[in-house]
Amino acid sequence: MGVQPQDPTPPATPGVSRRTAIRMIAVGSAGVAAGVGLTAVVARRDRGPARPRLFLSAREEATLSAFCEQLIPGDDVPGAVEAGVIDYIDLQLVGPHSRYQGLYRAGILSLQKTSLRLHNLPFEDLDGPVQTELVSRVEKGGCPADLWGDPSSGAFFGVVLDHTRQGFYGSPRHGGNRGYASYRMMGLAYPNLIGQNRPQAGRG
């Protein structure tokens, strides 16, 4: 009924680690990835079996990961990236959210250019507070007008924020909310078992 099958992803190649997979993608997309910002992503993503990307390039993933982590940052509970938000977004972009492919492709590029213009550094390499300030500009206006067309920075922000929330708070069956991290944070019993309400679960 218009809903993507739970996991259309082919199984990862046995023996290929997440780190290797990202390197392979980076090599595969040749000059595009250029290694910029890759280190941070690899370090952050070094956990569990890899889900090969279906839409995002390694470079796009690096930028988007830093952006989403600003939207829902990690602290004593996981942030967006560790909770699997990028897995969610990438998977849905070839499923129910395929109509947003163009918005992500163009919007991430605009974000990358904006960061280079204003700070001479890729977005993912900016210091946290500088990233936060730039995300505010993307949300509320103040980005160089010539770098944003379709989508506008506000439209890009709105869609990515919504999808980040979906990936962070939605059912893990769609790739995000790994280990029900957000449910644990909010003190909700998980999974929700039929006829077995458990009011005291979680930390409340």
């Binding site: 218009g2 809903v3 829902i72 602290d75 924020l161 929330r165 708070y169 769609h174 909010m186 309400n197």
Partner: protein, 550 residues
């Protein structure tokens, strides 16, 4: 291709169509019940908040799907957008056996007597088509009762002085109040208001072969895993099928009602699940497809005597589209108020439905259904950051500490809020799609602000540390409470059907859903849809002479 003739084709197996199929099949008529969707299955989507009828981020679990359906929305600036069923502007209602009754919150409201007499109670409102219904509460009361008993409603009106007169008590005892509900009861009583348990189409005790509610937090927006929620799919439709007189055809999309040159409905043209076209001949047709889809089907049914669509020679089909603006207020609490007992809404007040000084109409207020984590991201005071650490902190600190009183505001109908068929955009079957245009009457905002202020006052009395008001948009209304597009009335110049849902000038074509509503009450409309369907089918059955219709 033609099929063996039957007495009745009912289009749409939701709240209205399920009732009609059962009533007419039990009366001995042969019935084909057409449904574009399939049988709902809980285990296919379980408690997935992103595939919920309430928050369909990845699609509607109970239809319609994004792949085959489209609508066109006319924006305020005159431009148009093509929208999908999972987008809010589509104004979706569910598409499956049971329709919206599979995944609804199941509030079981009777409208109040004044709701049927809005024009005589309040007079004219400028720019509005506000009118009285051609029937009154007393006409419908026996049919409300029948709906309550055949579907199953739990309730208790002993504490509700505004409840309309009723001959019999509710068939099941009311549900107890939850933690938030008890706070509402204490505060509203202190304020001189009259709280009482919300009547629910949900089993508080085993009833009609189905078990009592197990209080899933994921209730509204989802099917019930144990069938404790009463919908047409687990009540009247199985009874219709058990007669042997009713055939349910799922996955069948009706494109057109064939109206002959003498102005009689002769057949429906439809597509089966494989996309093959069929014609089903019949003695009469009952359309119960929702206010948007019923209007669309009539408008797509052009004939010699009705070149602009069935029953549309006076341009009233599709007009007066309305729904409910929802508003109220929120408040944060020091102590946890969340309780792991769905669906969460337990208490209501009807003090503000009518008799508000200087105002036309009003609405019911209730504590809210449990809001799941993704949807809770939008529960924020004005000015609160939407992201970053502040977002996360609010989620974990207040998820179990936000109280809410909310409800539907009775909308003032207007002629320009309407459903048309789009001249160019078609669905996967090649059928012209709904084109939605117009906006709410400005008056609705005034009522909304009044209701929000009342809700906020109650929340303060409940001890809320911080309160803020909700509001709804000024644009077109519709959604799951969509109504009004085939208004019933005594005057064919200002209505689409007569008081029995019969389309003016087409003797064997009926409507039985919220399209008939002249006004939509300050309540969830489903029990009224059911009662009207009993009323319409009672009229059809009593006029049935066997082998033909009147």
């Amino acid at each position: 291709m033609a099929l063996p003739r039957v007495n009745v084709v009912v289009v749409g197996a939701g709240a209205g169509g399920g009732v009609v199929a059962k009533e007419l099949a039990e009366a001995g008529l042969t019935v084909v019940l057409m449904e574009r969707g399939g049988w709902p299955r809980y285990d296919r989507h379980n408690d997935d908040e992103l595939v919920s009828q309430r928050s369909p981020a990845l699609g509607n679990p109970y239809g319609p799907d994004d792949a085959r359906h489209r609508r066109v929305v006319v924006n305020p600036d005159g431009s148009t957008s093509v929208v999908l069923p999972s987008e809010g502007a589509y104004s979706n209602n569910a598409g499956c056996v049971g329709g919206g009754t599979v995944s609804y919150g199941a509030m079981a409201w009777r409208y109040m007597p004044q709701d049927f007499r809005m024009r005589s109670t309040y007079g004219a409102v400028e720019g509005s088509t506000l009118a009285d219904w051609p029937l009154g509460y007393d006409d419908l009361e026996p049919y409300y009762e029948k709906a309550e008993y055949e579907f199953g409603v739990a309730g208790d009106y002993s504490q509700n002085p505004f409840g309309a007169p009723r001959r019999r008590p509710f068939p099941m005892p009311a549900f107890p109040y939850n933690r938030e509900g008890r706070l509402v009861v204490e505060a509203t009583r202190r304020l001189g208001l009259h709280p009482f348990p919300i009547p629910m189409l949900r089993n508080s005790v085993p009833y009609n072969g189905r078990p009592a509610c197990i209080h899933m937090r994921s209730c509204v927006g989802f099917a019930c895993p144990v069938d404790a929620k009463s919908g047409s799919q687990n009540t009247v439709i199985p009874r219709a099928l058990a007669t042997g007189n009713c055939e349910l055809r799922t996955g069948c999309v009706v494109a057109e009602i064939r109206v002959d040159d003498r102005g009689r409905a002769r057949a429906v043209r439809y597509f089966d699940p494989e996309g093959r076209g069929w014609e089903q001949e019949c003695d009469l047709v009952v359309v119960s497809a929702s206010a948007t889809e019923t209007a669309r089907l009539l408008l797509n049914s052009k004939s010699k005597l009705f070149p602009n669509g069935a029953g549309n020679n006076r341009d009233w089909v599709g007009r007066n589209l309305q729904g409910h603006g929802y508003t109220g207020a929120f408040g944060t609490s020091e102590a946890e108020v969340y309780e792991e007992a769905g669906p969460g809404a337990t208490v209501a007040i009807c003090d503000y439905n009518h008799g508000n000084p200087g105002l036309v109409g009003g609405g019911m207020l209730a504590n809210e259904f449990i809001v799941l984590p993704y949807s809770f991201c939008d529960v924020r005071p004005p000015g609160e950051p939407r992201w970053g650490k502040a977002h996360k902190d609010f989620q974990r600190r207040f998820y179990k500490r936000v109280m809410r009183l909310y409800g539907p505001v009775q909308e003032i109908p207007n002629f320009s809020a309407r459903v048309q068929v789009d001249p160019t955009v078609r669905d996967a079957w090649g059928i012209p799609v709904c084109r939605l245009s117009g906006a709410r009457h400005p008056y609705d905002q005034k009522l909304g602000e009044f209701m929000s202020a009342n809700a906020e006052r109650i929340l303060r009395e409940m001890g809320a540390t911080r309160t803020w008001r909700g509001r709804f948009g000024t644009g077109l209304s519709g959604g799951q409470h969509q109504a009004g597009t085939c208004r019933m009335g005594d005057d064919p110049a200002t209505s689409v059907t007569d008081r029995y849902g019969r389309v003016h000038d087409i003797d064997n074509l009926f409507v039985a859903d919220a399209s008939l509503h002249v006004t939509n009450g300050g309540f969830n409309p489903v029990l009224t849809i059911m009662a009207l369907a009993y009323w319409v089918s009672g009229h059809i059955a009593s006029g049935w002479k066997g082998g033909g219709f009147r």
